[in-house]
C-alpha cells in the first residue's frame, strides 16, 4: 500500500510508513470515497518533475519528455482527487526518469571508453 503522506510504497502488512513514519491504519472518521480534493493536506504524491527536467536537458531527451508528461499527469490526477491514478502516474514518471538517467550514463560511459581507447592509440603512434 502507498503512504498517504509521502507516497512511499509499503508492505501491505505495515502499520507505519517506513519512510515518514505516518500511521498506515485507515482513519475511521474519514469517508472511504471523499469528494474531489484539491491539494488535500497530508496527501503527497511525488511527481519527480525536477528529475524529469534534469533528465530531459542532461540525459536522454525523449525519455525525459515522457517523464514530464507523467509528472503533469500526477498533479492533474491529484487535482481531480484521483489518488490511485496519481500514484500510478508517479511510478511511471519515476521509471522514465531512471530510463533517461540510464541512457545518459551509458552514453557517458561509452564516451569515456572511447576517450580511453583514443588516448591509448595515441600513445602507440
Amino acid at each position: 500500500m502507498f503512504c498517504t503522506q509521502c507516497g512511499a510504497n509499503n508492505a501491505d502488512t505495515a502499520t507505519t510508513c517506513v519512510q515518514c513514519g505516518r500511521s498506515l491504519q485507515p482513519a475511521p472518521s474519514l469517508p472511504a470515497q471523499s469528494a474531489p480534493m484539491l491539494q488535500t493536506p497530508g496527501i503527497y504524491v511525488q511527481n519527480y518533475l525536477v528529475f524529469a527536467i534534469l533528465a530531459t536537458v542532461l540525459c536522454c531527451l525523449p525519455a525525459g519528455i515522457v517523464a514530464i508528461v507523467y509528472a503533469a499527469q500526477v498533479n492533474g490526477k491529484l487535482q481531480a482527487g484521483d489518488i490511485a491514478g496519481a500514484q500510478a502516474a508517479s511510478k511511471n514518471a519515476k521509471m522514465w526518469c531512471w530510463i533517461s538517467a540510464g541512457v545518459g550514463l551509458a552514453a557517458g560511459a561509452i564516451w569515456m571508453l572511447l576517450v580511453g581507447i583514443g588516448a591509448l592509440s595515441n600513445l602507440h603512434h
Binding site: V18, V50, I53, I68, V69, N75, A107, W111
Partner: protein, 153 residues
Amino acid sequence: MPNSPKIFLLPAMLTVLAAALAMLYFFDPATSGLFPPCPLRYLTGWYCPGCGSLRAMHQLLLGNLRAAWALNPLTVLLSPFLLYGTASFALFELRGRRLPRLFLPAAFIRALYAVIILFGIARNIPLQPFASLAPAAPQVQAGRALRQSSQTP
C-alpha cells in the same frame, strides 16, 4: 525490509551529485574533453533544448550569469526551481522534513513541456531572433577550435 536498497542508493546518489558539481565547477565542458558530446548534435547537427545546459551550469557555478544565459537561457530560468526541488527532495530523504511544497497545477507543467519543445525548435531556426537562442560559442572556445583546425591537415 522493503526499502533497504534506499539506504545505499541515497548516499550514492548524493555522492554522484556532489562529484558531478565539483567536476562541473573545475572543468569547463566547452574546452575539456571530459564531458561527452551530445549524440544528437554530433549525428544531426541540431541543437536540442538541453544543448549548452552543462556549459551554462558551469558558468552559473562560476557566477557568470550573462555567459550562462547566452549558452542556454532555459537552464538559467529553470535553475532556481531545480535547485529548490533537489534541496527539498534531499532534505526529505535525509531528515524526513519537507520544505514548503510547491504544487504546480498540471496545466503549468504541460505549458513547461510545450516551452521546452518550442525552445528546441526555435533555436534551430537560422534567423534572428531565434538564432540567438542557440548556444553561443565562447571566445575561448572559438580561438581554440581555430587553432585546432589549423593544426590538423
